[in-house]
C-alpha cells in the first residue's frame, strides 16, 4: 500500500497523509452505523422497534440526523469550569482512541504503520484516553464528573494489567509484537488461529482479554465511570453538543479498536477462515471488519443483558480473578512451549 502510494505521489507528506486518513474513512460511517446498530440491537432485545421514522426504511438515517443535531447544539461550558482543559479533553480522548488504528492491519496490504512493536504501541497509546478522561472530569468542576473520572482512571489503569498479560500469551506463541507478523502466522484454515492453539490457555486468555477490554472501553458491566443511575453521566456530565459527540465517538471507536485487536491476535485478523477460499487483500478487509463487528455486537449484547458492578467488585475482578488467571495462562503456555 505504502509502495503503491509512493509510486503515485512521490511525496512523503501525501503518502502518510492518505494512509493516516484511511482509518478515518472507516471510522465515520462505522460510528454512524454502529450507533444505529446499538439502538436496534437494544430495541429488539427489549421487544421494541427502536428508531423507525427518520429516512424511511427502519429509520436508517437516525444517527445522521442526530449528528446534525449535535453539530447545531449550543456548546455549553460551565462558568466554573477550567475552560482550556474542558475544551481539550474530548480531543485528547479521541486522539488516544484514534491513534491506536495506526498499527491495526486492515488487510494484508494495508496497515497504517507496520512497526515491529505494534502491540506495545496499541497498549501504550490507548492509555492516553485516561489523561483525557481525568482532564474532562477535573475541568468540569462537578463532583459527579470528578467521581466518574477518578473511577475511570482507577478502572482503566487496573484493567490494563490483565489486558497486557493476556496479550502476552499470544506474544509468547507468536514471538513477535508486529501485528502483521501475527496475522501471517495464522493464515490458512481457521484451526490455525491462535485461539485454538495450546487449548485451553489461549482461549482463557481471550476471555480475559475480552472482559478486560470491556472495562477499558467503559462498557457495561464495567461502565461505572459513567454509570447513569449513580453518577448521572460521570465525566461527560457537563459536556454538550459536539464535544459530547466526541466522547461518544471515541467510545465507539475504542469499541472497534479493542475488537480489532481481539480479531487480529486471536482470530486470524484479515485471514479467511477457509484457507485460500475468499482470501486476498480486499476479502481480507471484509474478514477483518466482520470479525471486528462480531465482537462489537457481543459487547452490545452484554451491555443490554447485564447490570453493572460496583467499584470494589470491579477491582476484585481485575486483581483477584483476571490477573491471576492471566498469569496462569502465561505459565501454562510457557510450560507447553518448553515441553
Amino acid at each position: 500500500m505504502e509502495q503503491f502510494l509512493r509510486n503515485i505521489f512521490d511525496n512523503d507528506f501525501f503518502v502518510y497523509g492518505i494512509i493516516g486518513i484511511i482509518p478515518l474513512v472507516w471510522i465515520i460511517p462505522y460510528a454512524l452505523f454502529v450507533i444505529y446498530l446499538e439502538r436496534k440491537v437494544s430495541a429488539h432485545m427489549q421487544d421494541r422497534l427502536g428508531p423507525m421514522r427518520t429516512g424511511g426504511w427502519h429509520g436508517w438515517s437516525q444517527t445522521i440526523a442526530d449528528m446534525l443535531k449535535l453539530l447545531q447544539k449550543e456548546d455549553i461550558v460551565p462558568a466554573a469550569a477550567d475552560k482550556k482543559l474542558h475544551k481539550i479533553a474530548p480531543f485528547v480522548i479521541f486522539i488516544g482512541s484514534y491513534a491506536a488504528y495506526a498499527v491495526i492491519p486492515f488487510s494484508s496490504q494495508y496497515v497504517g504503520s507496520n512497526i515491529s512493536l505494534g502491540l506495545l504501541y496499541v497498549i501504550a497509546i490507548s492509555s492516553l484516553a485516561v489523561v483525557g478522561i481525568l482532564m474532562a472530569g477535573w475541568a468540569s468542576n462537578n463532583k459527579w464528573s470528578l467521581l466518574g473520572a477518578m473511577r475511570a482512571v482507577a478502572q482503566i489503569v487496573s484493567y490494563e494489567i490483565p489486558t497486557i498479560l493476556s496479550i502476552l500469551v499470544v506474544v509468547m506463541i507468536a514471538g513477535s509484537l508486529n501485528l502483521q507478523d501475527i496475522n501471517e502466522m495464522q493464515s490458512g484454515w481457521f484451526w490455525n488461529w491462535f485461539i485454538f492453539k495450546n487449548f485451553p490457555f489461549v482461549f482463557i486468555a481471550f476471555i480475559i482479554y475480552f472482559i478486560a477490554s470491556l472495562a477499558e472501553t467503559n462498557r457495561t458491566p464495567f461502565d461505572i465511570p459513567e454509570a447513569e443511575s449513580e453518577l448521572v453521566a460521570g465525566y461527560i456530565t457537563e459536556y454538550s453538543g459536539m464535544k459530547f459527540a466526541m466522547f461518544m465517538l471515541s467510545e465507539f471507536v475504542n469499541m472497534f479498536a479493542v475488537s480489532a485487536i481481539a480479531a487480529t491476535i486471536f482470530f486470524g485478523g484479515w485471514n479467511s477462515p477457509f484457507g485460500e477460499f475468499l482470501s486476498g487483500p480486499l476479502w481480507g478487509v471484509f474478514w477483518f471488519l466482520s470479525k471486528g463487528m462480531v465482537f462489537v455486537f457481543v459487547q452490545m449484547w452484554l451491555r443490554w443483558t447485564l447490570p453493572r458492578l460496583r467499584v470494589d467488585q470491579l477491582m476484585y475482578v481485575s486483581w483477584k480473578v483476571l490477573t491471576p488467571w492471566a498469569f496462569g495462562c502465561i505459565i501454562g503456555v510457557g510450560l507447553w512451549m518448553v515441553l
Binding site: K143, P221, E230, V311
Partner: protein, 386 residues
C-alpha cells in the same frame, strides 16, 4: 481556600464536615431517585458517611386539598395521585376508611372486584419497582420486559374504568363501573400468561450473579429497626417479619383466599438486605396472581352500585383504617365534623416511613450502594410528599 478552611462546611443538620469529606447532592434531579428526592450525601471518597434525605419537592398539600373539597367522593382523584404507581390500592384504602366512617357495608361483588383490582395493581406496581430497581443497578432490559407485562394490566384497567393510570374507580360504597363483559376471561388469560414470565425475570435479573452481588448484604435492615422505623410492606417482610395486613388485620374479603405472605430469608446474603426486599416483591407478584385467580373463580353476581350513598355525610368522629398497599401500610386517618366534606384527612403513606430508615441503613456503604438501597425501598415520591 483559606476561607473554606476557616469556616468548615456544615451539613443541613448542623454537623461539621471533616477535611476529607464532601457533600454530594443526589437529586432532586438525578436519574436514580425515582422522582424528586434529594439525598444530601456526605462522602468520604466513595464511602457514604451520612445521608440526609430532603423531601417535599412534590408536596401538593393533599391534605389541605381534601379539606377544601365539597364532598368525600371528590377526594378520590386526589388520592389516586398520591401513589400514582398503585392508584387502585390508594383508592381502596380511602374508600374503606370512609365506608367505616359511614358504617356501610358494600355488596360482595364489589368486594371481589376491589380485591381483583388491588391485586392486579399490586403486580403492576411491583413490576415497576423491580424493573426500576434493575435500572438502578444498571440492567436496562428487564425494566422494559416488566413494562410489557404492566401494559397488559393497564389494558385490563382501561377496559374496566377507562383510565390507565389514575382510575377514580373505587367509590365510597361501590365501584364506578361493573366489570366489562369479557373481563374475567381476559384476566384469567393474563394470569396464565404472567406466571412463566416471572421465571424469565429471575433468570435474567434476580439470580444474575452481578445483580446478586450488588444487592445481597447491602443495606441490611434488621427486623427490629424495621419495626421501630415503622417500615411496612415488602420492606418489612424483606427483613424477615412475617406480617401482612391482608392476613393479620384482614379487611375486605382477603381472609377467603389461600396465599402465603413472602418474607426475606437471607438466601443470598443477610436477612433484610436489598436482594431480599427485591425478591419479596417478585414472589409477591406470584401470590397476587393466586389471589386474583381465586377471586375470579369465586366472584359472585350482583349490583355494584346499590350501596353507593346519595349523600355522604358521616356522623362526627374519626377513624383510622389501614390497608396493605403495594408499598406497605397505607393508613387513612379521617376526621369528620358531620358536614359533607372531610374535616381532616391524613394519609399515612408507607413510603414516608420506609424512606425515613435510609440514613440508618446506608451509613458506611458506597455511593453505588446508596442508589441500590434507595431503589430497594421502592419509594414513590408522590406518596412521600403527598
Amino acid at each position: 481556600m483559606t476561607e473554606i478552611l476557616a469556616n468548615p462546611l456544615l451539613t443541613s443538620t448542623g454537623r461539621q464536615l471533616r477535611r476529607e469529606e464532601v457533600i454530594v447532592n443526589v437529586g432532586p434531579q438525578h436519574p436514580a431517585t425515582h422522582g424528586v428526592l434529594r439525598l444530601e450525601a456526605v462522602l468520604d471518597g466513595e464511602i457514604v458517611v451520612d445521608v440526609i434525605p430532603h423531601i417535599g419537592y412534590l408536596h401538593r398539600c393533599f391534605e389541605k386539598h381534601a379539606e377544601s373539597m365539597t364532598n368525600y367522593q371528590q377526594v378520590v382523584p386526589y388520592v389516586d395521585r398520591m401513589d400514582y404507581c398503585a392508584a387502585m390500592n390508594m383508592d381502596f384504602g380511602y374508600v374503606l376508611a370512609v365506608e367505616k366512617l359511614l358504617g356501610i357495608t358494600v355488596p360482595e361483588r364489589v368486594e371481589y372486584i376491589r380485591v381483583i383490582m388491588a391485586e392486579l395493581q399490586r403486580i403492576a406496581s411491583h413490576l415497576i419497582a423491580a424493573g426500576t430497581y434493575g435500572l438502578d443497578i444498571g440492567a436496562w432490559t428487564p425494566f422494559l420486559y416488566m413494562f410489557r407485562e404492566r401494559e397488559r394490566i393497564l389494558d385490563l384497567f382501561e377496559m374496566t374504568c377507562g383510565a390507565r393510570l389514575l382510575y377514580n374507580y373505587m367509590w365510597v360504597g361501590g365501584v364506578s363501573h361493573d366489570l366489562p363483559p369479557g373481563f374475567v376471561d381476559k384476566a384469567k388469560d393474563f394470569c396464565s400468561y404472567f406466571r412463566p414470565k416471572v421465571k424469565e425475570y429471575n433468570d435474567l435479573l434476580s439470580f444474575n450473579d452481578i445483580f446478586v452481588r450488588r444487592t445481597a448484604n447491602v443495606g441490611v435492615l434488621p427486623a427490629k429497626t424495621a419495626i421501630a422505623y415503622g417500615c411496612s410492606g415488602p420492606v418489612l417482610r424483606g427483613s424477615g417479619v412475617n406480617f401482612d395486613i391482608r392476613r393479620d388485620d384482614p379487611y375486605s374479603v382477603y381472609n377467603r383466599f389461600e396465599w402465603e405472605p413472602q418474607i426475606g430469608r437471607g438466601e443470598r446474603g443477610t436477612t433484610g438486605d436489598c436482594w431480599d426486599r427485591y425478591m419479596v416483591r417478585i414472589r409477591e407478584m406470584e401470590q397476587s396472581i393466586n389471589i386474583v385467580e381465586q377471586a375470579l373463580n369465586q366472584i359472585p353476581g350482583g349490583n355494584v352500585s346499590s350501596a353507593i350513598p346519595k349523600r355522604i355525610r358521616p356522623n362526627p368522629g374519626d377513624v383510622y383504617v389501614r390497608t396493605e398497599s403495594a408499598r406497605g401500610e397505607l393508613g387513612f386517618y379521617i376526621v369528620s365534623d358531620g358536614s359533607g366534606s372531610p374535616y381532616r384527612v391524613k394519609g399515612r403513606s408507607p413510603c414516608f416511613s420506609n424512606l425515613s430508615v435510609i440514613p440508618e441503613i446506608s451509613r458506611g456503604c458506597m455511593v453505588a450502594d446508596l442508589i441500590a438501597i434507595a431503589g430497594s425501598l421502592d419509594i414513590v415520591l408522590g406518596e412521600v410528599d403527598r
